[in-house]
Point group: C2
Chain length 479, copies 2
């Protein structure tokens, strides 16, 4: 068993050093590897399979709302990037520039897309003429590049994978409706599939997207009490439309500007899965997103009938729609258990000669480690029930953790003390001015995560300056 212990031992405990624990899990669960390209990562099979499941589930939900997928170039000419003033100011400092094509210098620099608003606007300005051409509800799955100085696997890297939806509508109301619709879609996806509870709300002016009229966000809380922006949906109003001249003739034959939105979710959600659900044995994947939901581990597999039984059980579970594998390698059972735990496979099914004699198997839940003895006859049904229960309880547990780490502050001293000493969200009132946000940032390195849709009246005064309060805000330190 020495080898098994070593396998687990190599992870730092999360209580000791959360950042190191995270890096250890990412590496040991074989989600990611570093590369020769500074700040860029390889997403390995175990990591990419999670992303494929995220894509599949999001894409299905998108298409139900009328989204059409497209692909736009990865390059943006410098002049195009500069068309919307706030947008270029927000992104220019962190883009990668292509200056040579083959052996020739380019006449105009091209940036590698950090996001594609400008290209979609360029397309829409050519495609949209009449109210009959509206709405346009396009999305693309691609990678984007932002030249970050410090990087962390999944959370912040120079290249990452995402989807970016870009829409154009006849009216401001329709654009706002689509913005909120997609925010709700993201929130439902996070809670139902990733078992990650989120706070829905609006970003402050300081925190909103470069070029947007309003940015909406879903914010989640990691196990260490830091916040993670998990998906954003932007209402652009007609700002980009005016900069790019995207106009249509309405039913009265008058020229109007379109109203636009954009919304995105990225591979950082894999980081969120790790930091919300993981433990000191490694990853814990919610069943609905897990590429492998159950692994069958034969015990004393050389004894007659053991591997044959494992094979039969695998076939039964597959037939029932469960994503299952059998680990029949020559590693010891203990080693296989440790591996299953490290990789976060939701349940393992142990089955040896004694179990077979008793026509049963032992199902072990990854999250609670509960051992459940199940009759082989009803294995598929029971495993599905256990997976469903686990999915539900993981969300409940994450919600309980978040609620237990959400505090209220009504004066600035206790606000600062809470931020400094109790990692989590702090709910507090705000006057609405930028200066108070800047002060909080400077004093305790926290930001306004969002102005939640569900407002509470905690006091009449801004927690920072004491002036009349306008909104309740979730504050916190964030990834």
């Amino acid at each position: 068993m020495a080898k098994d212990k070593k396998f687990v031992k190599e992870i730092t405990s999360m209580e000791e050093d959360f950042a190191q624990w995270y890096t250890d899990v990412v590496k040991k669960a074989e989600l990611i590897d570093y590369t020769s390209v500074k700040g860029c990562m390889v997403i390995k099979p175990a990591g990419y399979a999670i992303w494929e499941n995220i894509q599949h589930e999001l894409d299905r939900r998108f298409k139900e709302t009328g989204v059409e997928n497209v692909y736009l170039p990865m390059f943006i000419p410098e002049s195009l990037l500069q068309k919307e003033k706030d947008h270029v100011e927000g992104f220019a400092p962190e883009v990668a520039w292509v200056t040579y094509g083959g052996l020739e210098p380019l006449q105009e620099r091209l940036c590698v897309r950090p996001t594609s608003e400008t290209l979609f606007c360029d397309l829409y300005s050519k495609e949209i003429h009449s109210h009959r051409d509206l709405p346009k509800v396009y999305n693309q799955w691609c990678s984007v590049v932002r030249w970050e100085k410090t990087t962390r696997p999944f959370l912040r890297s120079r290249e990452f994978l995402w989807q970016e939806g870009h829409t154009a509508h006849a009216t401001a109301e329709e654009a706002e409706e689509r913005t909120i619709q997609m925010l709700n879609l993201y929130a439902d996806f996070c809670e139902e599939v990733l078992a990650i509870p989120v706070i829905k709300g609006k970003k402050t002016e300081k925190e909103k997207f470069a070029g947007a009229e309003a940015t909406y966000t879903i914010e989640s809380l990691m196990h260490d009490g830091k916040a993670l922006q998990s998906g954003t949906s932007h209402n652009f109003g007609d700002g980009f439309a005016k900069a790019f001249g995207i106009q249509y003739t309405d039913k009265e034959n008058k020229l109007q500007y379109v109203h636009q939105t954009s919304w995105g979710m990225t591979t950082r959600m894999i980081g969120a899965l790790i930091m919300v659900h993981g433990d000191n044995s490694g990853l814990v994947l919610p069943p609905r997103i897990a590429p492998v939901q159950a692994v069958i581990i034969p015990i004393q597999q050389r004894k007659e009938g053991v591997l044959e039984t494992a094979e039969k059980l695998e076939a039964q579970l597959k037939e029932a729609g469960i994503r299952v594998k059998t680990d029949a390698t020559d590693k010891s059972p203990g080693f296989k258990f440790a591996e299953q735990e490290m990789r976060g496979i939701p349940v393992r099914i142990e089955c040896g000669p004694k179990d077979i004699e008793a026509a049963q198997a032992v199902v072990v839940r990854r999250d609670t480690r509960e051992k459940i003895t199940v009759s082989l006859d009803e294995l598929a049904v029971r495993v599905q029930e256990i997976l469903d229960t686990m999915q539900r309880e993981m969300l409940e547990r994450a919600r309980a953790h978040r609620d237990a780490h959400t505090y209220v502050a009504t004066d600035y001293d206790s606000f600062k003390k809470t931020i400094n000493e109790k990692p989590g969200f702090v709910k507090a009132m705000w006057c609405g001015c930028r200066e108070c946000e800047d002060k909080v940032k400077e004093d305790v390195q926290a930001t306004a995560r969002c102005i939640p849709f569900e407002q509470e009246n905690l006091s009449d005064k801004c927690v920072v300056c004491g002036k009349p309060a306008k909104k309740m805000v979730y504050w916190g330190r964030a990834y």
Copy 2:
């Protein structure tokens, strides 16, 4: 009907100008649009949906053979690209270079991947240590960039979408087996799904991939008699392994180099679909790849019961697994017919008041324009039969076209005359030397498309130089 005619009239006929016909179809079927970025295209919803179906079908077939998907960075440091000599010589002249990250010049230039052999090798050199780590069978779906001087939608653009598989094996035999396995997979996919018949064979030394020991290819013939390389599978031997130091310890504890392969298929297959199956009314999509397989067009749709019937039929067909839409817009039926034809939707289902009275609908095949009256009771079953027949006949027709445009030449004069006057493949014997290939290229601008697996002995002499022949080769002009 004036408007309907105009819609169709805007396409140049393929007999008049095939290149212009192709561009017209690409634009009018709304597959692609040009962008502000020279040589880069937008793949629009109708085009991207075809690519999604290609991806879905190929990915399923890959995974059945044990392929695992990953994602590697889009950037390659210049020093890494230079590690394999032939490879860098082949690609350096046509790569895009990133020289700035944000406001700072980079210490080392990064090229935007034209292909990812070097990155996969870099990864494998870190991941592979023991024979237990083999084989590695990775694939990625991504875009790549090649700085082409002249571009054409789908066929040749500065950025295109593809998949690139990269594998590492313990032995040369295993690598060769995987190379051929993937070539066969591509060939089956082309014939079964795209209804495009292919010639399987080996590339000559002159035409093989930069850095490969052997390149295998599937070659297809377009309607205008030009060849299209439709998928390639490369056996690298241990050349990259030696350049990148990818070694493993075998069962006898000896250090060995791995043997590698790579294989790819791209969005140019959408171009192939257009050029193999299209006609003067537009695109014709084989049912198995068509995003929409059937469109219901209600006739006199304002009359009572027409739209209700259309709705019911749509639900029935959907239930039967047919990808179906109803066009209930206020355009005229004639306009809708022309649109369905332009977009290549395999069948349209016409249904008006008289049809409903007779409990029937008229199904019109896109390829033959055959009109089939079908009882509403059995619509779903009959439409599926018609789609299956159409899929089969499209492949047969493409094969007959190719065979009718495949010629034999046994002397150089008739060889040149055939190439110049009869667009298609020319089968002819070859001595195996580079000089003869160069002479053919110079004299008639044709290339050795492949040395087919199915060899024939047409004569004893090389068609070019008259020296003893070694192989039969398919020659042709190519896209």
